[in-house]
């Protein structure tokens, strides 16, 4: 209630200065390490960007396997620039070596997919 006096019947022993300082140091170290671990775990875990890029490359490869005209080119798909390199595989005219590389806005390589496919003549 307002205006009522707080009566402390028991004595509370205070921590020593040394104890408080050590506690502060420990708590800072522990929190610092925890933050480092957390940031490392988040940084090193699978990025959504990489998964997206891989899914786009797989889809592109599937389309290329069923299309007749395949050439080396650069295409923009979603947030990525895909470099598409096509060449004949081991001098076999029926086989094509396809190399798809996805780059982000900073031109950093995000994902890569290489496959040997059969030239589609149907």
């Amino acid at each position: 209630m307002a205006g009522r006096k707080l009566i402390v019947q028991e004595k509370v022993a205070a921590s020593t200065l040394l104890e408080v300082v050590i506690s502060m140091v420990i708590i800072v170290l522990v929190f610092g390490t925890a933050m480092m671990i957390y940031s490392n775990v988040t940084r090193l875990s699978l990025s959504v960007k990489k998964t997206q890029a891989q899914a786009i490359l797989l889809e592109m490869m599937r389309n290329m396997e069923s299309s007749k005209e395949i050439t080396s080119q650069s295409v923009v798909a979603g947030d990525f620039t895909i470099e598409q390199s096509v060449k004949s595989y081991n001098d076999n005219n029926d086989l094509l070596s396809v190399d798809l590389t996805a780059y982000d806005d900073n031109h950093q390589e995000v994902a890569e997919l290489q496959k040997v496919i059969i030239r589609n003549d149907d």
Partner: protein
């Protein structure tokens, strides 16, 4: 008195945070390792498919032995590929591996059908017409003699089919049939002189296609197989007659013998090759891809007719062929009985005998047709039979031994994999 104990409290908090952090690290570790495993699996799958494409696009003679190489000259793209002949078809094996992880597939392949050569009937031109009678139906393109095709009144039966006789294009055939692949026939012929081990007391055997072929040799003893279950990379060989009972289950198995008798009611998927004769009983069911083939590269000591005969009401999917290098006076014959249904191809080097209500969905190559009733033998008469080259699965693939096989190889059936 309550103790302040700041240090004690901090240690407890630090312990709690420590537990949380270590569990976070463990979760992240497992997540990462699982992700890496999935990534490795995707890469292996990708490399495996590349290996499959390399095999499908390479010439027949390539990769007869297991070949291991790097796909793109990187450390994580090794594949091991191999081709082998499996009767009338081919078996391809592909393995892709990164460190200790391996993916493998074994599959049966055949060739796409050459649509220009695919026909309901191809009969060699021997300067006489083909005659049709009764309820005969021919759907699809045909290669027939210049003399053409006409209706006839046979056995008291007039022609009651479609007025066009042939529902499809009529083309002129050559004097000789297009030939079977001689190289493949030579390879098949070698298997007649193969040697192997005995079956022992086993009543079932499954043999992987990743292993060396298991040859079970019955030598000169006439053998009747009963209550037996054989699957996979197995070749049964006999220098004499081999009798296969309906209680035998054969799945992807090859049989090479002088003559083969299959009892009534047999069910299975197998390739049977003989030098003298193959006799299939009634009510049998051979599922795709099966094969019945007579291969006679040398003239027999005792003159006999190379013959494949199929009992009534039997269903067969695959290839039936006869091949005799130097035909004698008794020429090879394929006999299709009443109510038989053949899905696939028939290649008869000489005669093809057809009975009432025989149905052929696919393609027939023959020198002549034979129809026999109780009194008379008719040549090049088609009576109450159905030919339809269109009523076959669009995924049907032709054996590379046949003349309708194009160069394009395709996957026919997955056999093994992980």
């Amino acid at each position: 008195m309550i103790r302040a104990s700041a240090l004690y409290l901090v240690i407890v908090i630090a312990l709690v945070i420590g537990v949380l952090c270590s569990s976070l690290i463990v979760v992240a570790y497992f997540y990462r390792s699982e992700y890496q495993r999935k990534f490795r699996y995707d890469r292996l799958e990708n490399n495996l498919n590349s290996g499959i494409n390399i095999l499908l696009a390479s010439p027949d003679s390539a990769y007869a032995r297991q070949t291991t190489f790097s796909l793109f000259n990187r450390s994580d793209d090794s594949v091991s590929i191999q081709k082998s002949v499996w009767g009338a078809y081919n078996i391809f094996t592909v393995k892709s591996f990164i460190q200790n992880d391996t993916l493998f597939r074994t599959f049966l392949t055949a060739n796409a059908v050459d649509s220009a050569k695919w026909s309901a009937i191809y009969i060699a031109d021997d300067d006489r017409p083909i005659s049709v009678s009764g309820k005969t139906s021919i759907t699809g393109n045909v290669f027939i003699p210049k003399a053409g095709i006409q209706t006839a009144y046979i056995d008291g039966k007039a022609y009651t089919g479609d007025k066009r006789i042939v529902i499809g294009e009529k083309r002129t055939s050559e004097k000789k049939l297009p030939v079977l692949d001689t190289d493949r026939l030579k390879l098949l012929d070698k298997d007649f002189s193969t040697k192997g081990t005995t079956l022992g007391n086993k009543d079932s055997l499954t043999w992987s296609f990743l292993k060396e072929i298991k040859i079970i040799d019955f030598k000169n003893e006439e053998q009747t197989l009963k209550h037996l279950d054989l699957k996979g990379n197995i070749l049964l060989h006999s220098d004499t007659t081999l009798i296969i009972d309906s209680t035998v289950l054969l799945n992807n198995v090859l049989v090479f013998a002088r003559s083969i008798i299959v009892k009534d009611g047999f069910h299975g998927s197998c390739q049977l090759f003989a030098t003298d004769s193959i006799s299939i009983g009634k009510d049998c069911h051979f599922s795709y891809p099966s094969c019945l083939g007579i291969i006679r590269s040398n003239a027999p000591k005792i003159i006999s007719q190379a013959k494949i005969s199929i009992g009534e009401n039997t269903t067969f999917s695959g290839l039936i062929f006869t091949s005799e290098k130097k035909p004698g006076s008794l020429k090879p014959m394929i006999s299709i009985n009443k109510k038989d249904t053949i899905r696939g191809q028939i290649y008869s080097q000489d005669a093809l005998a057809l009975k009432d209500k025989a149905v052929i969905y696919g393609s027939v190559f023959t020198n002549r047709f034979v129809y026999q009733n109780s009194f008379t033998l008719y040549e090049n008469y088609l009576i109450n039979t159905t030919f339809n080259s269109k009523n076959i699965s669009p995924y049907y693939l032709a054996s590379p031994v046949t003349p309708v096989a194009s160069k394009k190889k395709k996957i026919l059936k997955w056999l093994e994999g992980n």
